[in-house]
C-alpha cells in the first residue's frame, strides 16, 4: 500500500500550485474551469443512465409492494402469477436466505445485514407502505403488472406508528420483537422502538448554564424529506449458467453494491461484476441496494437478463429519505455574547430499521462553536416508514438548524450582530470540538468575514423582507481509493477511477493528472471503471471522491514519472542524478544535456514497447487526512402576508474548499446544497394520512424547488488549504446543505417577527401563523 502522506514532496495548501512538476506547455489546469469530459454526452442525450441499458432477451422486472404500513405476512401464494404466460420468474422472501445479525460499518450509520435482507424483501412483516413483498420478471410491462395482481398475500394488519415521538412511547405499536434499546442502564428487558440512546459530553453544562446571563431553550421539529434525485433507481442484471453476474446500476458505490449482492445471494465477490452507470443524482440515497438483489435473483431464476426501474411513486414509498426529527436545544450566553453551555436532545426517525444519522447529528450540532460545556443526547427510533438513507451531511442539517435558530435568537435578545456573535464563538485552529479532537486549520472565520463583506449583507430590505445567516459543518472523509493512469502508445493518457462521478470527479481528476504528468488536459481521458477493471473503491460520499481520488492520482503519476526516469537512464546510459522529470519531460542534467535532448511523456508513450513495455501507474490508497469544511450562508427572502408564500430574493454561500480543483464544480456543489436546503426549509415534507400511507408520492405534491423558484445562488470560494492534502483539497459536497435551514428560518423571523420552530415553513403554515398573530393583512 502506498504511503498516504504524499505531502512530503508536494507543496501544500493554497499558497502554491501544490505540485512541483510544471507543464511542458506552461499550463496548470488545477483551479481552472476545464470543459467537463461528460458534458457533450449529457447535453446531447447520449449519456447512458441506469434505465438506458438493455440486453437482448431482457425481461421486465416489477415489485409487489405492501399496501399496509405495518402487517404480519401470513402467507404468499405466487402460483397464479407463475402460471401466467409471459412470466418467467417470481421471487419472494423464500429466495433470499436469512442473514444473521451482524453490524457492519456503512459510513456513520451502522447497518445490520439481518435488516438489509428484510428491507430488500420483507420476511416476517411488512414494515412500511411500499415494502417489497415479491417481484416478478415477465416479457412485457403489461404482463408483469398483471402478474403482480395474481400474487396472493395474506396480511394480518397491525397498528402502525409514524411520528418519532409517538414511536418512542412505551405503548406504541412495536416494529421489532427483538429490538432492545442500546445505551441505557440498566439494560431493558422489554423491546422498544428506541434502538439506541447515545450522547456526547464535554465539561459540565449545568455549571456552564449557571454562568449564563441569557438562556434560550426551544424545541424544533423537522419533517422527513427525500433526496429528490431526478433519476429513479434502475438496475439491469444478467446471470450466466456458471453463476457469474453482470449488473449495471445507478449507484454511488458499485463496489458496495457488489459486496451487498454477493452477501445477500451467497456469491463470491469475484463472480459479480458491477458497472456504475451515469447517475442522475444520489446525494446519499443511492449508497444502498434496493432493486439490485431482486434483479439478480430474478435473472438467475429466469435464465435471462432482467431490467428493473422504479417509478417515482416507488422512489418515494420504497427508498430511503432522511429522518424526520424532534430536537430540543438549550444554549446559554453571557451578556457579551460568549456561549457558556450548549445542550441538545435529538430524536431522529430511522424508518423501519435502526440506523438514523442521529450520531453525526449529535457530533455536528455545536461543531461550529468553541463552547466549554456541551451535552448532546440522541435517540435512534424506528417507525413505519421506509428505512432512512444518507442525505448529504446526514443528520447535521437537522441539529444545526435548531442550534443556528437559537444562536440567532440569542443575537437578537442581546442586541448583537448575528455574524459578530458567531465570530466571537467560532471554532478556530486549536479549538476542541464538542466531539473531542482539536481542529487543525479551518475556514469558519473566513466564511463569516467573507459574508460580512458582501454587498448582499449591506443591502437594505423592505417590509416583509428578512435576512438570515447561519453556519454549518461536515467532517469529510478519505477512504479506500484506486485510480489507474495508463500512458497510451500515442502519448495520450487513460485515467480510470472507481468512484462514481456524481459531481465532477472526472473533470477534477483529469486536471490533476494533466498537471502531474505535464500533458495537456485534452489528452487525458477519464472514465469510471467497473468493479472488474479497477481495484476497490469505497463509495462516492462523505465528500471524499475528489479529495482521495486526487491523492491517488498523485501516487499513480509518481509511479509513471519514476518509471520514465528509469527508462531514460537506461536509454541514455545515465545515472539517476543525471536526469530529472520536470515540465512534462525527462530532462538530462549537467554534461549529459549536451549529448541528449529531453524526452516528453508523449515520446515515451510512443516508444514504450521498445523501452520495456506498457507504462502506467496505479494509486492504491486508504486516503487519510480529510479536512472539515465550514460554510456560512446568507439569505434574503420576502413573505407574502396574503398567501404565506415565501420568495427567496437573494442567496450567498461562502464555504471553505481548501483548494478548488475545478471551481465551477465546487460552485455547483454550493448551489445545489443551498437549493436542496431551500426546499427542505420551505416546502418539502412527507405527508402521511391517518392510515399510515404517503399522500404525496410524486413531484407535483412533494414540492421541490425548480430553477424558476430560486434566484442565482452566489458563491464565495474560501480556500484555507488542508495541510494533509498535496493540493490542499477539502471535500465540499456535504456542508452546503447544512446552513440553509437555519439561515432561512432566521430570515423568516426577521421578515415576520415569528420564530418558526417547525419545518417546512410552507405557505399554509406561514399563513396560519400570520393569521394567529393578526399579521396577515399586508
Amino acid at each position: 500500500m502506498a504511503d498516504n502522506k504524499i505531502g512530503a514532496d508536494h507543496k501544500i495548501g493554497a499558497e502554491t500550485n501544490g505540485h512541483t512538476d510544471g507543464q511542458s506547455n506552461g499550463a496548470h489546469y488545477v483551479g481552472t474551469r476545464t470543459i467537463r469530459p461528460d458534458g457533450v454526452d449529457k447535453v446531447t442525450g447520449r449519456a447512458r443512465f441506469g434505465a438506458d441499458y438493455n440486453l437482448p432477451g431482457q425481461l421486465v422486472g416489477r415489485v409487489l409492494r405492501s399496501p399496509h404500513p405495518h402487517a404480519r405476512i401470513v402467507s404468499i401464494d405466487t402460483s397464479r402469477a407463475e402460471a401466467l404466460p409471459g412470466v418467467k420468474a417470481v421471487v419472494t422472501r423464500a429466495d433470499f436466505g436469512d442473514q444473521p445479525s451482524e453490524f457492519i460499518p456503512a459510513g456513520e450509520m451502522m447497518m445490520n445485514y439481518k435488516d438489509v435482507v428484510r428491507n430488500v424483501m420483507a420476511r416476517e412483516k411488512a414494515l412500511y407502505e411500499g415494502h417489497a413483498v415479491a417481484a416478478v420478471a415477465a416479457t412485457s410491462v403489461a404482463i408483469a403488472r398483471k402478474a403482480l395482481k395474481l400474487i396472493d398475500v395474506k396480511y394480518e394488519v397491525l397498528p402502525h406508528v409514524i411520528d418519532v415521538v409517538e414511536a418512542m412511547r412505551p405503548d406504541a405499536p412495536l416494529l421489532h420483537d427483538d429490538l432492545f434499546t442500546v445505551g441505557v442502564e440498566p439494560k431493558p428487558d422489554k423491546p422498544s422502538n428506541i434502538a439506541k440512546r447515545l450522547e456526547i459530553k464535554v465539561g459540565d453544562v449545568e455549571a456552564g448554564f449557571k454562568k449564563a446571563d441569557l438562556i434560550v431553550e426551544r424545541e424544533f421539529k423537522t419533517a422527513p424529506v427525500h433526496q429528490g434525485y431526478i433519476e429513479p433507481h434502475a438496475a439491469l442484471a444478467t446471470v450466466s449458467e456458471d453463476g457469474s453476474v453482470e449488473l449495471w446500476t445507478t449507484t454511488q458505490g458499485h463496489f458496495i453494491v457488489r459486496a451487498h449482492c454477493a452477501r445477500l445471494l451467497g456469491l463470491d465477490i469475484s463472480k459479480v461484476r458491477v458497472t456504475a452507470t451515469e447517475i442522475g443524482g444520489g446525494f446519499g440515497g443511492k449508497t444502498v441496494v434496493y432493486l439490485e438483489p431482486l434483479a439478480i435473483a430474478l435473472s438467475k431464476k429466469a435464465k435471462r437478463p432482467v431490467k428493473m426501474v422504479m417509478s417515482r411513486e416507488e422512489v418515494f414509498k420504497a427508498s430511503g429519505p432522511t429522518s424526520g426529527a424532534t430536537v430540543r436545544v438549550k444554549l446559554g450566553a453571557t451578556r457579551d455574547g460568549k456561549f457558556t453551555a450548549g445542550f441538545a436532545e435529538l430524536k431522529y426517525q430511522a424508518g423501519a430499521f435502526q440506523g438514523s444519522p442521529v450520531q453525526p447529528g449529535t457530533m455536528c450540532a455545536y461543531a461550529p462553536y468553541d463552547i466549554e460545556h456541551v451535552h448532546v443526547i440522541g435517540y435512534d427510533v424506528v417507525s413505519n416508514r421506509p428505512k432512512v438513507a444518507a442525505y448529504r451531511a446526514p443528520g447535521a442539517p437537522i441539529s444545526e438548524y435548531a442550534v443556528e435558530s437559537v444562536v440567532d435568537e440569542i443575537a437578537k435578545k442581546l442586541g448583537l450582530d448575528p455574524i459578530q456573535l458567531r465570530m466571537m464563538n467560532a471554532a478556530r485552529v486549536g479549538t476542541k470540538a464538542a466531539y473531542g479532537p482539536k481542529f487543525g486549520p479551518i475556514g469558519l472565520e473566513e466564511t463569516l468575514n467573507s459574508i460580512k463583506k458582501t454587498e448582499h449583507w449591506n443591502t437594505p430590505l423592505r417590509k416583509w423582507q428578512g435576512r438570515g445567516v447561519a453556519s454549518g459543518f461536515w467532517f469529510n472523509i478519505g477512504g479506500e481509493t484506486t485510480v489507474s493512469l495508463t500512458l497510451n502508445e500515442d502519448g495520450t493518457v487513460s485515467l480510470m477511477a472507481g468512484t462514481p462521478d456524481i459531481g465532477g470527479l472526472r473533470a477534477a481528476l483529469a486536471s490533476v493528472a494533466a498537471d502531474e504528468l505535464g500533458v495537456p488536459v485534452e489528452k487525458v481521458r477519464p472514465i469510471i471503471g467497473d468493479t472488474g477493471s479497477v481495484g476497490f473503491n469505497f463509495l462516492t460520499g462523505g465528500s471524499r471522491s475528489a479529495f482521495s481520488g486526487s491523492m491517488a492520482i498523485v501516487e499513480a503519476a509518481k509511479q509513471i514519472k519514476s518509471e520514465l526516469v528509469a527508462r531514460a537512464c537506461k536509454l541514455w546510459e545515465a545515472k539517476p542524478d543525471q536526469v530529472e522529470f520536470k515540465d512534462g519531460a525527462v530532462r538530462p542534467l549537467g554534461a549529459l544535456a549536451e549529448k541528449v535532448k529531453p524526452m516528453t511523456v508523449a515520446e515515451f508513450g510512443k516508444l514504450s514497447g521498445k523501452l520495456g513495455g506498457p507504462i502506467g501507474g496505479v494509486g492504491r490508497i486508504n486516503a487519510q487526512g480529510a479536512g472539515p469544511s465550514f460554510g456560512t450562508h446568507l439569505v434574503d427572502l420576502e413573505v407574502d402576508p396574503e398567501t404565506g408564500r415565501t420568495t427567496i430574493l437573494r442567496y450567498t454561500v461562502a464555504q471553505d474548499a481548501g483548494r478548488a480543483l475545478h471551481p465551477a464544480y465546487v460552485e455547483g456543489q454550493y448551489q445545489g446544497g443551498a437549493v436542496q436546503g431551500i426546499g427542505w426549509a420551505l416546502n418539502e415534507e412527507y405527508i402521511y394520512g391517518d392510515d399510515g400511507k404517503l399522500q404525496n408520492a410524486g413531484f407535483l405534491d412533494y414540492r421541490m424547488p425548480v430553477a424558476s423558484d430560486v434566484p442565482m445562488i452566489d458563491t464565495i470560494l474560501v480556500e484555507v488549504g488542508n495541510p494533509k492534502h498535496p493540493y490542499g483539497v477539502r471535500g465540499v459536497g456535504e456542508t452546503p446543505i447544512v446552513p440553509p435551514l437555519g439561515a432561512i428560518a432566521n430570515a423568516m423571523e426577521a421578515a415576520t417577527g415569528i420564530r418558526f420552530t417547525e419545518l417546512p415553513m410552507s405557505p399554509p403554515k406561514v399563513l396560519k401563523a400570520l393569521r394567529d398573530k393578526g399579521l396577515d393583512k399586508a
Partner: protein, 81 residues
C-alpha cells in the same frame, strides 16, 4: 503515555471510564490493549470506529502511528451522503 478518550457510548463498555493513559505506538497496538483490558470493547473496535490522533481523524488505519504524548479520541465512524 498517550491520552486516550472514548467518545459517545463506548465508555458504557468500560464501566464508565472514558479516559485512559496508554502506551501504544500505533492504532493497532492501542486497540489490542483496550480490547485486552475491556473485552466488551473489542467488537466495536473491529466493527469500525474513527480515531483522532492529535486532531486528525483517521478511519480504518490500523498502522497509523501514535506518539508518546499524543491525544487520541476514539469516535463513531463517519461518512456522509
Amino acid at each position: 503515555m498517550a491520552r486516550v478518550v472514548l467518545i459517545g457510548n463506548l465508555a458504557q463498555l468500560t464501566g464508565g471510564v472514558a479516559e485512559f493513559q496508554i502506551s501504544a505506538t500505533s492504532v493497532k497496538h492501542l486497540f489490542q490493549q483496550l480490547a485486552e483490558a475491556h473485552p466488551a470493547l473489542a467488537p466495536h473496535l473491529e466493527e469500525g470506529v474513527a480515531v483522532a490522533i492529535d486532531g486528525q481523524i483517521y478511519q480504518d488505519s490500523l498502522f497509523e502511528p501514535i506518539k508518546p504524548d499524543s491525544e487520541v479520541f476514539i469516535l463513531p465512524q463517519i461518512a456522509g451522503g
